[in-house]
Amino acid sequence: MKAPAFAYAKPASLAEALALAARPGAKVLAGGQSLIPSLNMRLSAPELLVDITGIPELAGVSLKNGALRVGALTTHAEIEASPDIRTHVPLLAQAAPYIAHPAIRNRGTLGGSLALADPAAEYPACAVALDSVFVLRGSTGERRVKALDFFKGLFETDLKAGEILVAAEFPAAKKGDRSVFLELARRQGDYATVGLAGFNDRVVFFAVGSAPVLFSLDEARKHLKERLKPVPDLYNSSATKLHLAGVLLERAWNTLSTSH
């Protein structure tokens, strides 16, 4: 399947990128690992792709004020291999190997994954579990949005037209922090059947609905059945997903709970 025709621009500055991204029919291109297959399958037909991979402000990992700022262009492979991330945000490093396969991880980016908000994706759930903050830039300036508020629904985020996600800030690990990442998938690298990203008292389930679902540990233990209403997929009913979420919770319990 061949993609429909579109124009292409590769701005060198963030200001230029924002101007181009604000045009009607424009789509932002970073790693392209989700966008390009959808173009090849003619699921979308943008008029202009704005390639942001040449913009220096969007790259890099830096530690500042107890938070690790990870640039949107950081690839999954870089996250997997980064000593900074392993040290300061181990949950992200735990999640990265579950994302697809090495060749895709070499191109796919953190920003791309967060902006797409695929309900079965790993990083959105990690970001919510870590209570992280996303830095958005638009023509009117910068906005900071909490992860939980960013993911609104099925492939739906708080990104406004013409805005670009430039970085995500994660709380740097402190002594006593506990994180766990569990994913059930039919085959390695597949989208999750059900997944769990846990950080201290925050448990986030993903691949269960249109967006990651956050619980406290206690809430999860007592009210999982009532509050988690999983959306069925091709192979798993709502009941199956709920059951599997419960299994993951049990498996994560010992790592996450302290005095529980």
Partner: protein, 795 residues
């Protein structure tokens, strides 16, 4: 087993067998290792156009109106054509055969004319300079439809309330009943009757290379050359000739490198016929390569069955009878030319296959639905027959509290009982069920595994061990298709030619899709003539060059093509020695050929190198006696005649761990002991088995074409349709028993499909063995985590 023990260029050994039985690496893969192969999509032609098909989005709809005006204006478009336009160049076909009594199917056109009968059926063709331009234009085709009710469920189809083809009266493509008589009496005599209903999910081949065809019509000659990813070039030559109106001798079909086939590429596809018609119409080469999305919609599907099976058993474990009711759903047409009735027919022929009982009753219906067409796919019918049989056998063993291996031992046909006529009418020449069973149990250390299973259960780990004994159809005679009127060759021919420099060229009608045809033929030819392997070149897959043959299907390559190569090789050897005896003035009987030279048969003394003999025969025949003519090109043919099919036997075992919390199945290990007669290249045979087993694993755990109630394919892409990938696959241990067939000098039976035939049954039995202490069992493939959780009562 299966290690390359000899260096690549091993000279022919001094033994009679030569290279037969050695694991030689394939000479023809060098180009594939460098990406320098020659697949259809790699070929470049002047004025090559590409065709894309506008396909029905509806499972069943009348085509009210097609408008091509906007599409025709799109850049790069050469033409846009409907079914009527293409029908002027390509006649329709009906896929029925005389020996499937009562089989019926409506005529099918290259491009549908009045009505689309499945989602994905082509209703228009867009030809452009590039694929991208053709797709752009296809998006501009306007269509008006009158949607018709879609028949999707097989029971509903059988019920016939809505008939897809009113002219046919009902939705039954083919039905068959078989009754040996005495079945009810056998069931009355039984101590235990076990019964079960099994479901098999529709699935498909997913060849990594999409279907591909490049048709090159020469208007000056009214000739057509087709570069086709096909298993059966001569069959296609005949079909192109008849349906496109071109004399047979003016049609040439060439199959070069083919990226996987497994039966998918042995059938006639309407869009491929249309591609040829378009080349003729437009008087230029036209190429079609099915992309992945259209592959899922239009490559043949297979194996959608609902089967009820009953078995009568005595307390001793003796099987008395089988009773079978099979319902299978195909698409809206029987597929040409082999028909879509064969798979169900095989289920009737083969159920109960390894066992001694003589009473059997079967009822089978093949019904049309508005889903994609189905036809023969690797192991055709066997995976179902084996799973049914082995599943119900395990059930009986459990009911009698008998070890499943011992239950089988009690019932397997004895190794000295041959020839043997089976209750479905098929005849076995000689099988080795007990030998293979014993070898398997020893290979897997069955006793120890059972003990470990008990220990692990105490720790809460649920291991399962599953066995599946099987028979497998190979080396078919004309009984498979020819007797029904199909122009499908069951014979094959090989031409062997000694070149002036002493090299040997082999031309054979059997084709290569990666199984190792070329290597195996080179081994046989080198052994028969007496040359070293690197002196042999094999050419297959070209109707303009090779003898007329059947190509590859039903695991016939080594057994039938190989025999032709052997016979031709021996004849060439004899003719070479005729020349040698004249050149050397020695008695032919005192000579032999070894190591690329004519030698003294007793002392092995080199008398004359073949390159010297070749020079003389070709360039200096004036030095030979005036009444002598060297004949250094020899052709021989072979047809299996004594048995309708040459059956093989084997047995597989699967070791799994089932996680009762998640329903996930971990494949720990797999074994296969196979008797395929003479093994020419053990490594290639093992690799065929392994690949086949993994395909069977796909059927058991992952693969299903999911259709919605409106006949829409829901998972027609690689992310949603799950194929086996490396991380989840077990290591597979292979071993062999060799019972050569006496129908040929080579003694080789076939083996290409064996792995696929037995694996699903073995895995099902292993899962059910693991679930048994939890009072759960599964019967519907694929065994997804949800199905296992449901069986356990957890969801």
């Amino acid at each position: 087993m299966g290690k390359a023990e000899l260096p690549l260029h091993a000279p022919a050994t001094q033994t009679d067998k030569g290279y037969i039985g050695t694991s030689v690496p394939r000479p023809n893969v060098r180009r594939l290792l460098q990406g320098r192969g020659s697949f259809v999509d790699d070929l470049r032609f002047p004025r090559l156009a590409q065709v894309v098909f506008f396909r029905s989005p509806h499972a069943h709809a009348r085509i009210k109106r097609l408008s091509f005006e906007r599409a025709k204006q799109s850049p790069g478009v050469i033409g846009v054509f409907d079914g009527r336009a293409v029908a002027e160049y390509c006649t329709p076909w009906v896929a029925v055969l005389g020996h499937l009594k009562g089989i019926k199917s409506p005529p099918q056109h290259a491009i549908a004319i009045e009505r689309a009968c499945w989602q994905g059926e082509a209703v228009a063709a867009v030809v452009a300079e590039t694929r991208a331009q053709a797709e752009d234009a296809a998006a501009l085709v306007e269509a008006e439809w009158e949607e018709l009710p879609a028949v999707v469920d097989m029971e509903e189809s059988l019920g016939g309330k809505r008939v897809i083809h009113p002219d046919l009266g009902d939705n039954i493509c083919f039905k068959r009943e078989h009754d040996t008589g005495g079945v009810d009496e056998a069931f009355a005599k039984a101590d235990v009757v076990v019964e079960e209903t099994y479901h098999f999910g529709r699935h498909t081949g997913v060849c990594l290379e999409g279907r591909a065809i490049l048709a090159d019509y020469n208007p000056a000659e009214h000739s057509l050359t087709v570069y086709h990813a096909t298993q059966a070039p001569h069959m296609m030559q005949d079909i192109f000739s008849r349906h496109l109106g071109i004399p047979e001798g003016s049609v040439r079909v060439i199959a070069r490198d083919v990226g996987g086939s497994y039966g998918i590429k042995v059938h006639v596809y309407p869009d491929e016929m249309a591609t040829c018609a378009l080349s003729i119409m437009l008087r230029r080469p036209v190429k079609f390569v099915a992309d992945r999305l259209e592959s899922f919609l239009s490559d043949i599907h297979a194996r959608e069955h609902r089967v009820k099976i009953k078995m009568a058993v005595k307390n001793t474990g003796e099987i008395l009878a089988f009773d079978l009711d099979d319902l299978t759903a195909i698409g809206p047409y029987s597929v040409y030319p082999r028909t879509s009735g064969i798979e169900g027919n095989q289920v009737v022929n083969l159920t109960g296959g390894p066992y001694r009982h003589q009473k059997y009753r079967a009822k089978m219906h093949v019904v049309f639905t508005n889903k994609n067409v189905t036809c023969q796919y690797r192991a055709v019918g066997h995976p179902i027959a084996v799973a049914l049989t082995e599943g119900i056998v395990d059930k009986a063993a459990a009911a009698l509290k008998m070890d499943p291996a011992e239950f089988r031992r009690k019932n397997l046909i004895p190794d000295d009982a041959y020839p043997y006529t089976f209750p479905s009418g098929i005849k076995f020449e000689k099988l080795s069920h007990h030998q293979t069973l014993n070898k398997l149990l020893e290979l897997m250390n069955y006793r120890k595994l059972r003990e470990e299973q008990i220990q692990q259960r105490k720790k809460g780990k649920h291991l399962g061990i599953g066995l599946a004994a099987m028979i497998e159809v190979t080396n078919p005679s004309p009984a498979f298709y020819g007797v029904g009127g199909a122009r499908i060759s069951a014979q094959d021919g090989a031409t062997l030619r000694l070149e002036p420099t002493g090299m040997v060229t082999v031309l054979c009608g059997v084709t290569e899709q990666g199984q190792g045809t070329e290597a195996v033929f080179a081994q046989i030819a080198a052994s028969a003539v007496g040359v070293s392997l690197e002196k042999v070149r094999v050419i297959t897959g070209d109707t303009g060059v090779t003898p007329y043959g059947g190509g590859t299907w039903a695991s016939r390559g080594a057994g039938i093509g190989g025999e032709a190569v052997l016979l031709a090789g021996r004849a060439l050897q004899s003719n070479i020695l005729d020349v040698a005896s004249k050149v050397l003035n020695l008695d032919k009987k005192s000579l032999n050929i070894a190591d690329n030279a004519v030698v003294d048969i007793l002392t092995q003394e080199k008398k004359i190198p073949l390159e010297e003999l070749g020079r003389i025969a070709h360039f200096r025949p004036d030095t030979l006696p005036v009444d002598f003519q060297a004949e250094l090109t020899v052709t021989r043919h072979y047809t299996p005649r004594q048995y309708g099919f040459t059956f093989t036997n084997g047995i597989q075992a699967s070791l799994v761990e089932v996680d009762p919390d998640t329903g996930f199945v971990k494949l720990l290990k797999h074994w296969c002991v196979e008797d395929a007669g003479t093994v020419i290249n053990p490594m290639l045979v093992d690799e065929q088995i392994r690949g086949g087993v993994v395909q069977g694993i796909g059927a058991a755990l992952y693969e299903e074409c999911l259709y919605g109630p409106d006949g829409q394919l829901l998972n027609g892409n690689m992310a949603d349709y799950l194929v086996p990938m490396s991380a989840e696959m077990p290591d597979i241990v292979c071993a062999h028993v060799e019972t050569p067939t006496k129908q040929s000098q080579l003694g080789a039976k076939g083996v290409g499909e064996a792995g696929t035939a037995g694996a699903p049954g073995a895995i099902m039995n292993a899962i059910n063995d693991a679930l048994m202490p939890l009072n759960a069992g599964v019967t519907a493939m694929p065994f997804t985590p949800e199905r296992i959780l449901k069986a356990l009562g957890k969801v």
